[in-house]
Structures are given as structure tokens and as C-alpha cells.
């Protein structure tokens, strides 16, 4: 067992004993077999036990009062806690703590869906409620509401929102942090705080008005270590009458620029609200929307053609796409609403896209909601609010790699919603990947995800290996990409603990003024540094290096 730094075995044992008094012996986990469940399954330190982030123990309370009692004990004995919700977060660190030896505060047993309000379209949940739990609850109870779910859907609403994750439905709901309304937080002192209208005991608007009175502090509890969130409200999407996907393709390499500009206008004007999925030649054939990767459906010779051309202008690639009646770039845009409204919106969108020479538009099918079971089988479920785990099938298994990989690390810089920037990023990352002799991120050309409406997330996954030597090389490459991205103004939105410090170094405006503010807050709110030391590179005063 790896004890927390500066905590003696005697003090640690005392903490464990007192935790047991609070939650009962069954819910304090100290055996290796139990604690192993909290390891990061996608750790980039596989096979390197000295480097892997591991917990010393775990405690699983069932109520806010138990959380408060545990936090008070931890504060008194200066034993670090690492709160998790349902503890998935694969690709971004899993449920392992940011500092080895921390005691995982596992909130899975707090799994109540406290309130669903159909008229005002919101829900109030505890940390142990997952997207698939809520989705199941809404369906079984017959609510005409959707929860915007990430892909995969086994994570916690609260955990994902606190990590500032993104989803797939309408723009008002895809930014999961932005879709929250009201929080309940146990501070490191054990004190209970409610934000927004929750601060007014008689208020009935905790989940209807975000701001309350005075400074809005919710943000300091996301990607941070200032407290333990025990309740959170979220706005839900009313189930639309229908949904529709239209496809636009453009023939030239440079056409990505007007394509993105047109999508931006239409999306920001809310002429469509679904997630626009951009695709390049390798991601043609709608595989993104399908249940599995259909690499075998790609035209013969495409991959070879792509790999031959490493610098613009890509005229041969354009010709290849034209010969195979596929666009160089394309976008699928999804609509939600009454059919007559969607028809008018799509007609107007087509008019705007037709300003791009050679653009082609493909009509879709008007699907009435809820999706039939038959339609759902082949649908991209998350865009219809259906929580699922198909991402593991789609991402992990391909015809070339039928058994998937040992995991992955998500490299996810935020890039401007500008086609020029995407074309530049493709080149920058492709050239860097070639230099580093790693798989080629960015090329064959990827465009980036649009979970957040005003920017791209230029996501690609570094595979994790069982071989420590390979992982060491991967970690070094990851760090190089982070630094290079930052030089271009592209910053990571979220990352595994292994890279917190690397990424912190890139957010350096005015001699790290923001980071110093984070530390000031940490010192004020958590002077003993007992909540998640090191999370997002925020260390308590007594653990800072310099």
C-alpha cells in the first residue's frame, strides 16, 4: 500500500478506523484487490508501478452527512481525499488519484435521481447517477425529455460536467458544464454550500436560474480541488418531434474554409442546433454515424493515395475524391424540431451552402421521435439522447485490429472554428508526428469535433501499450505535441494527470497569473490541502515545489 506523503502509518490507520465508524466497515476499502478497482485502466504508466498513480484506500459514503464527516476527519488528520463520481473518465485518468496515496472518496452509492421536472426540463442528481441510469429512468417513467450524453454513457453527469465534458445533441445541452444549474458542495472544512438560488432556503428556482445573488462561484469547482460536489442540477432537452440529418460535400481542399464559415453562421444563428460532424475523405461513408467503423467500405486505393501526399495542394487527392464521387470535405448537420420547421431550416441551409462552388447536398430522412427500436439499431445513438457504450466497439475494434488496443490517451487541443486553422493543424501535427516517428495524428486528414459550439476540439487518441518502453515514447511525444500546439495558440481542454504539469506550463499569461490565482483560492479554501492535491496542477501550499 502506498501511503500519502507526510502521513504516518499510525495516522493513516486512525483515519481508516474513523472512516469505518462513519460508513461502516463494508464501505472502506483497503485490500489490494479492492483498491485495484480504482486503477486507471488506460494508464500511460502500465508496467511502471513506481510511476503509476494509485490510491491507498477508498471510502464510499451514502449521504451528504457521511461525506461531511469523512471530510472533517481527513482535514483533522491531514489525509488527502480524491473524490470521484462513478469513476470512468477513461482516456483522461480514470478513477486514479492525481497524487498517489490519496484515499479515493467514491460517491457511487450516492445515486439518487432527486427530481425530474418535465415542464421546466431539468433534473437534480447525485454524483453516482450515470447518463445511462438517467436515460433509463426517463424512458421507463415516460418523460419526454432527453439527457445529452457523452460517448460512452456510463459516466456520471456530475463527474463529466466537472471535467467539462461534451455531448452530442442540441447546442444548448452539449457543453455539460454550461448545462448545469445549481450545485451543492461540501467544502474542505466540511461545511455545506449551495450555489445560485440554492443559497435561498425557500427558493424553488435552484434549477431554473443559475446566478443567484453575488459572485457566481460554480466555476471554481470544475477541473479543480476546492470541494466535493454532492448534488447538481442539469437542464434537459425536451424530446423533439423529429430529427433530420442533411449532408453537404465540397470538392476542393481549400473549400474547408468556406464550409466551416457557413456552418459557423448557421449554427451561431441557431438555424440548426445539432452537432455538425465534419469529415474528410477517410471518414467518408457515414461511418461516424454508424454503429461500427466500416473501414472496409472505403474505396480501394484511398489510403494509399492519402499517404502519398503530405503537403498541399493535394490535387491528386481531389481528383481521387472526384473520381469516386465523394467530397474532399463534408459535413453532416442535424436538426431537431417539428418537421415543417426542419424542412424550412434545411432549405435555407442548402441555399447558404450552395454559395460554395461545386457543393453538393444530400437530403436525409425525417425521423420522428422517439426513434423506433429498428431505427435506433443503426443510428448514432448519442445524437438522439440514447446513452450507450458503442464507442468501445467503434473505437476499439477495426477490421485491421479486431481486438482493439490496450487503451488510449486523449490529446484534445481547442482550435479556432476556422478552416484555415484546421488545415494548418493537420500539417503541423502530421509533420511533427513524422519527426517523432509516431502514428500520424492529423493526417490522413481529420477535422475536429464540434461538441463546443464556438471552437473545434482537434481530438486524437494516442494508443496505450502494455510495453513501458512504448508508453515512455508516447508520453514524450504527447508532451511535445502539447508544447507545439501551445506555440500555435492551441490549448488542451482536459487531460490525464500524467500531463497536468505539462499543460499548466502552456497557460502562462502574465507569469502564470491565473495559476497563481488558483493557488490563492486553494490556500484560502483548503489550507490543509486535503482535497485532490495536484488535480489540474493545483497543489496545496505545503506540497508546492517552489
Amino acid at each position: 500500500m502506498k501511503l500519502p506523503p507526510s502521513v504516518s502509518a499510525a495516522v493513516f490507520n486512525q483515519a481508516i478506523s474513523r472512516f469505518q465508524e462513519v460508513v461502516g466497515k463494508d464501505w472502506v476499502f483497503v485490500s489490494e484487490e479492492d483498491v485495484d478497482l480504482y486503477r486507471d485502466a488506460y494508464s500511460p504508466f502500465k508496467g511502471e508501478p513506481d510511476k503509476e498513480f494509485v490510491a491507498s484506500a477508498a471510502v464510499a459514503p451514502q449521504s451528504v452527512e457521511e461525506v461531511q464527516a469523512i471530510v472533517k476527519i481527513a482535514n483533522e488528520l491531514k489525509v488527502p481525499l480524491y473524490p470521484i463520481s462513478t469513476g470512468k473518465n477513461l482516456g483522461y485518468g480514470g478513477s486514479a488519484p492525481a497524487m498517489s496515496g490519496s484515499v479515493v472518496l467514491d460517491l457511487k452509492r450516492m445515486n439518487r435521481i432527486i427530481e425530474v421536472n418535465e415542464v421546466n426540463a431539468y433534473v437534480l442528481v447525485e454524483p453516482g447517477v450515470s447518463y445511462m441510469d438517467l436515460d433509463q429512468h426517463l424512458r421507463e417513467k415516460g418523460y419526454r425529455l432527453w439527457v445529452d450524453t457523452p460517448d460512452p454513457g456510463w459516466g456520471s453527469l456530475i463527474g463529466n460536467a466537472l471535467e467539462r465534458g461534451g455531448g452530442w445533441t442540441s447546442s444548448n445541452y452539449r457543453d455539460h458544464w454550461a448545462a448545469h444549474c445549481g450545485m451543492e458542495v461540501v467544502l474542505p472544512s466540511g461545511e455545506l454550500v449551495r450555489t445560485g438560488m440554492g443559497a435561498m432556503p425557500a427558493a424553488r428556482t435552484w434549477q431554473q436560474y443559475k446566478h443567484g445573488f453575488g459572485p457566481q462561484v460554480d466555476g471554481i469547482f470544475s477541473q479543480s480541488n476546492y470541494g466535493v460536489c454532492t448534488k447538481m442540477g442539469f437542464w434537459l432537452m425536451p424530446q423533439p418531434e423529429a430529427s433530420y440529418i442533411g449532408i453537404v460535400q465540397v470538392p476542393k481542399y481549400e473549400d474547408l474554409i468556406p464550409l466551416v464559415e457557413t456552418v459557423n453562421y448557421l449554427e451561431n444563428a441557431e438555424l440548426f442546433t445539432g452537432l455538425p460532424i465534419f469529415f474528410g475523405p477517410l471518414t467518408y461513408n457515414k461511418y461516424i454515424r454508424g454503429p461500427v467503423v466500416a473501414a472496409e467500405a472505403l474505396p480501394d486505393g484511398l489510403v494509399e493515395t492519402l499517404m502519398k501526399f503530405e503537403k498541399p495542394p493535394y490535387t491528386a487527392l481531389e481528383k481521387f475524391c472526384a473520381d469516386h464521387k465523394m467530397g474532399m470535405w463534408g459535413v453532416e448537420i442535424q436538426f431537431y424540431g417539428p418537421p415543417e420547421v426542419i424542412e424550412a431550416q434545411w432549405a435555407y441551409c442548402k441555399k447558404r451552402f450552395s454559395a460554395i462552388p461545386g457543393a453538393t447536398m444530400e437530403d436525409g430522412e425525417m425521423l420522428t421521435m422517439p426513434l423506433s427500436e429498428e431505427k435506433a439499431k443503426t443510428a448514432h445513438k448519442v445524437t438522439y439522447g440514447i446513452a450507450n457504450l458503442e464507442a468501445f466497439v467503434a473505437v476499439g475494434r477495426t477490421p485491421a485490429n479486431p481486438n482493439g488496443s490496450a487503451g488510449h490517451l486523449c490529446f484534445a487541443p481547442i482550435i479556432p472554428r476556422d478552416g484555415r486553422e484546421i488545415l494548418k493543424a493537420q500539417q503541423v501535427f502530421a509533420e511533427l508526428a513524422k519527426e517523432l516517428q509516431i502514428g500520424v495524428p492529423g493526417w490522413p486528414p481529420i477535422v475536429g469535433m464540434t461538441n463546443f459550439t464556438r471552437s473545434f476540439v482537434f481530438t486524437f487518441n494516442f494508443p496505450v501499450s502494455e510495453d513501458p518502453a512504448v508508453n515512455e515514447k508516447t508520453r514524450a511525444a504527447f508532451k511535445t505535441l502539447v508544447k507545439t500546439a501551445a506555440e500555435h495558440g492551441w490549448g488542451e481542454y482536459r487531460t490525464p494527470p500524467a500531463f497536468y504539469e505539462t499543460i499548466k506550463e502552456t497557460y502562462s499569461f502574465n507569469n502564470f497569473a491565473l495559476h497563481r490565482l488558483h493557488e490563492t483560492l486553494k490556500d484560502a479554501i483548503d489550507p490543509n490541502g486535503i482535497i485532490s492535491p495536484g488535480r489540474y496542477a493545483i497543489w496545496p501550499k505545503n506540497m508546492r515545489k517552489s
Partner: protein, 217 residues
């Protein structure tokens, strides 16, 4: 989607899954048990109670012949079998969560590694954990290479010395379904033990709850 069965898929496969005689099977499984020895002292090391090892359900992949044979044997032993058709959420909500919530039970399966990974992590929601896992590397028609990955509470023999490729999945199911209960409990100890990797063709596994902690659904 999840389909409980009567497993039509395995029946449609005809004789290829079932061309092992009962005598061959028992002989093979029996040899395995005898070779490695069942002992009551080993059972004392189990972190879970014997009655928690009741096999509640066997999960199989209907697209894999070995997995169908595994399920077929489990079904013959009276175990409920469920086909896994790439929808882990439905599998979890309809089968696994109720099985784990409704009393001490083991879930066994033979699936692709990715599917095992997802099932394993789903069952962690209720603090269940893998007690046994073995990888079966299958290349073309050659004999599979079996490797024990995890062996915490039971011990199962899957040697490479068998004569028929059709025997081992059934023998494995026989042993997993015959996991200790009451006084007859006796795990087999196997060599090996490592983190599960994702580079095998098939994984067989047994997932059981923690000794004393169960969460209500």
C-alpha cells in the same frame, strides 16, 4: 441488443459446436481437475463466500463458435445464457445489474477482449470484480494458446494438450459452472497472473461480487 435464449444461434450452427461426446468432455475436464487437484484448504483463501459463487448467468458472443460451445455447455448445466450483441448498456440494465443485485452470484462469459473490458468495468459499478480470466489466442485452425490472466478465487484447467479444439470451451464452462459451493468447494490453482491485455482473440472470465458489499439497484 441482448437476446436471452434457447440460443437459436448455437442451434443453427449444427454439429460443429457439439461434436464432443459427453464421455470425452468429462474425461478431459476430469483429467484437468485431477491433474491440478481440488483442495478444501485452497478454498479457505477465497475472498468471497462459497454461496456467492452460484453462477447466475453465462454471457456469450453468438458470432464466435467457441463462445457458443461454452454457452451451450453452461446451458446444459442449467445456467441461464445470454447472447451479447454489442449493446453493453442493455446487457447491464437487463441482466448483469439485476443478477448482481438479487443475491450473491457469479457471472461467467466468453467474449472478445473489448467486450470483456466493458462488462468488467460495468460490474465495477457495484464493486464486483473479476475472479478468473483467461486469454485464448486462436489463429486459424491451430490449437489455441491458453493463458491465465487472473485467478483469484477459482482455478480452472485449460491445457493445451487436448485433442479436439471443440472440447476446451465446453470443459471450461463445465469447470466455471461447477465452481465451489458449500463443502465441495475447491479451487484449482493455475500458474500465471497478469493484467488483462487487449490483444487476444477471446477471453473467458468469471466476475463475482465483493465478499460483503452489495449495492441495491
Amino acid at each position: 441488443m441482448v437476446a436471452t435464449d434457447t440460443n437459436d444461434a448455437s442451434k443453427r450452427r449444427g454439429a460443429s459446436d457439439g461434436d464432443v461426446t459427453r464421455r470425452e468432455l468429462l474425461q478431459y475436464a476430469g483429467l484437468g481437475m485431477a491433474a491440478l487437484g481440488w483442495s478444501s484448504t485452497a478454498h479457505a483463501k477465497l475472498p468471497i463466500q462459497a454461496d456467492q459463487l452460484r453462477v447466475a448467468v453465462a454471457i456469450y458472443d453468438p458470432t464466435l463458435a467457441q463462445s457458443r460451445a461454452f454457452a451451450s455447455q453452461a446451458k446444459e448445466l442449467g445456467v441461464r445464457t445470454v447472447a451479447f450483441n454489442a449493446d453493453p448498456v442493455t446487457l447491464w440494465q437487463r441482466e448483469l445489474a439485476p443478477a448482481l443485485a438479487n443475491g450473491p452470484a457469479t457471472i461467467i462469459g466468453m467474449t472478445r477482449p473489448d467486450d470483456y473490458f466493458v462488462i468488467d468495468h460495468l460490474t465495477r459499478i457495484v464493486w464486483a470484480r473479476t475472479h478468473f480470466a483467461a486469454a485464448h489466442d486462436i489463429v486459424d485452425d491451430s490449437a489455441p494458446l491458453h493463458r491465465i490472466l487472473i485467478d483469484k478465487s477459482c482455478s480452472v484447467r485449460i491445457g493445451s494438450d487436448h485433442a479436439s479444439a471443440a472440447i476446451w470451451p465446453r470443459a471450461l464452462a463445465l469447470q466455471l459452472c461447477s465452481l465451489p459451493s458449500g463443502n465441495s468447494a475447491a479451487p484449482l490453482q493455475m500458474s500465471g497472473g497478469a493484467m488483462v491485455t487487449h490483444n487476444q482473440s477471446l477471453i473467458s472470465w468469471a466476475i463475482a461480487p465483493r465478499a460483503t458489499s452489495r449495492i441495491s439497484a
